[in-house]
């Protein structure tokens, strides 16, 4: 199993400003990889390096088994730029047809099918497209040739929620077809429902690569239990993985890390009338990586 994207010590400096430093990353065939980080962390730099728009200061990268300098490999990649610019009097449909021709053609009706799914009007001149429609045209051109690798830089920006759902469906279909997807975002919530793994990049460095499933396992979960009678707080204190316990009469609120087992067993001694468990907040974990990293930096600086 060869990696679809493989980088080794990939580094990019813009003059003295660090864009990306020492990135070693492997993206496996058929996975959806979420590439996360705040704006300016190095996500776009990484993506541009993979597409040979900019050249690395040092290190190397291969995409689909070929050096990034090989133009032929780009016919097998679908790319959505983070700041997609479409200009001029040309109609969107003609532009898409041009891109399709250069990439070696797309199957008949594919462009219309995608336009219909995303509800995009392709008869508009490119300079007159709204931000949302530009993004749709960008998505169509990225998906239309059914590429083996999709590289999507902030794909959901500017899309309304309905179109976002359709987009996520397209991503899942591409994965089902065995294609690989690298998508960047500055919020985990945007990718957590489709991504298999996430990489977190911060200030030009890859801080962590995590399985979404593992992340969920470690996720912080807020739980609320309601009993038929007031319960003593002591029964719930000191339970493994349970913290921030607040008891108010017959109701209890707490936070659990990982498995809820101990809490359930403790609650079973009383009569539970109602239970609320919020979706695990992956964002919170995500942020702890950041704060840990920050702490380390602060420490090193002191």
């Amino acid at each position: 199993m060869t990696a679809v994207v493989e980088t080794e010590g990939l580094t990019k400096f813009y003059g003295t400003r660090r864009g990306l430093e020492d990135l070693t990353l492997e993206i496996r065939p058929g996975e959806v990889f979420g590439y996360l980080g705040p704006n300016g962390a190095g996500k776009t730099t990484t993506i541009r390096l993979l597409l040979d728009v900019i050249r690395p200061t040092s290190g190397r990268a291969t995409v689909l088994g070929a050096d990034t300098r090989d133009p032929r490999v780009r016919a097998r990649i679908g790319y959505l730029p983070g700041e997609l610019a479409l200009e001029g009097r040309e109609r969107a449909r003609n532009y898409l047809q041009f891109l399709a021709d250069v990439r070696g053609g797309v199957s008949r009706g594919r462009i219309d099918e995608l336009a219909e799914r995303l509800d995009a009007d392709l008869s508009v001149r490119m300079g007159e497209l709204s931000k949302g429609n530009k993004q749709k045209v960008g998505l169509i051109q990225a998906f239309m040739h059914e590429p083996e690798l999709l590289i999507l830089d902030e794909p959901t920006s500017g899309l309304d929620p309905l179109v976002q759902q359709e987009f996520l469906a397209m991503v899942r279909e591409a994965r089902t077809a065995g294609h690989t997807i690298l998508m960047s975002s500055h919020v985990l919530a945007e990718v957590e429902h489709v991504a298999d793994r996430v990489g977190i990049v911060r200030a030009g460095r890859l801080v962590a690569v995590e399985d979404i499933a593992a992340l969920r396992e470690r996720a912080v979960r807020h739980v609320e239990l309601h009993f038929d009678a007031p319960v003593p707080k002591e029964s719930f204190e000191g339970l493994p993985g349970v913290r921030d316990v607040v008891v108010q009469g017959a109701s209890l609120r707490c936070t659990i890390d990982g498995r809820p087992d101990a809490l359930i067993k403790a609650a079973a001694r009383y009569t539970v009338v109602h239970m609320v468990s919020a979706e695990p907040d992956l964002e919170e974990i995500f942020l702890t990586y950041y704060s840990e990293e920050e702490g380390r930096h602060a420490h090193a600086g002191a």
């Binding site: 133009p71 780009r74 730029p81 700041e83 610019a85 001029g88 040309e90």
Partner: protein, 266 residues
């Protein structure tokens, strides 16, 4: 025709039509005045011309025989205004090859197509050259027609020789714009280089004839290789034209090398 050449020509279409119309209007208007001037010989008599300062006459290419068809055609069309307008057209189109799309950020997606950068640049240049050639051919036809309608009595061969020089000159400046744009990705830088080299080159070439101190600089002026051979009078200055072509080729090579190794859009 390669896809990218065709696509670029479509992008250039409106600008090409506009510039062709403008240049043709300029040529027809200025050349047609010749007939009325001839009815009033006093305007361009030797005495009248002698009233202009020498430096001005130098700048306008001498003006010694402006009362003849050749002299008039050279002075109004091929000396200053014609090359100036046509060079502006070439510089604007040359900027739209790389620097313009790069500043507008539309170049990024084009670069990620399965086309290598050399081919991208070459096809963009080919479209530029073809577009300028089309403008040159139409304006040649119009200049020839207008000259004959005004009874200028200049043979087609001479006009063709001069017009070819004009085309080679603007191709040089267009390629220069494209080259600077490909190397730096900035339209303003490219326009500044073309403007400074073009204007300084013109002044050096025309004034340099009578000022020895700057005379040697004429060799560095592209305009020198366009004007010095006096093609309207003496026919094809092959050597000069080859220099222009060779310089264009060098610029194109430079553009290829510079663009090949550059970070785009940062």
């Amino acid at each position: 025709m390669p896809t990218l050449v065709r696509k670029t020509l479509v992008e250039y279409r409106r600008a090409l039509i506009g510039w062709t119309v403008g240049l043709c209007a300029f040529l027809t208007m200025y050349i047609s005045i010749y007939a009325s001037m001839m009815n009033d010989p006093e305007t361009f008599s030797k005495q009248a011309i002698a009233k202009y300062p020498g430096a001005f006459r130098d700048l306008m290419g001498g003006m010694s025989d402006i009362a003849t068809g050749r002299g008039y055609l050279q002075a109004v069309a091929y000396q200053l205004l014609g090359p100036l307008l046509f060079t502006m057209c070439a510089a604007i189109l040359g900027n739209r090859a790389i620097a313009g799309p790069e500043e507008a950020r539309t170049l990024e997606l084009t670069l990620t197509l399965p086309i290598d950068r050399r081919r991208l640049l070459l096809e963009r240049w080919a479209a530029l050259a073809l577009g300028l050639l089309a403008v040159a051919l139409v304006t040649l036809a119009v200049a020839t027609g207008a000259a004959s309608a005004a009874h200028m009595d200049v043979p087609f061969g001479s006009i063709l020789a001069a017009h070819t020089g004009l085309f080679l000159l603007v191709l040089f400046f267009g390629t220069l714009t494209l080259c600077v744009g490909a190397a730096f990705g900035r339209k303003q830088v490219a326009l500044a280089v073309v403007g400074v080299w073009g204007v300084a080159g013109y002044i050096v070439e025309t004034m340099g004839r009578s000022i020895d101190a700057i005379s040697w600089l004429r060799w560095l002026s592209p305009v020198h290789y366009y004007l010095d051979g006096r093609p309207l009078y003496q026919g094809w200055p092959y050597g000069d034209y080859l220099v222009l072509l060779g310089a264009t080729a060098v610029l194109l090579m430079t553009a290829l090398l510079a663009f090949e190794r550059r970070d785009v859009g940062v």
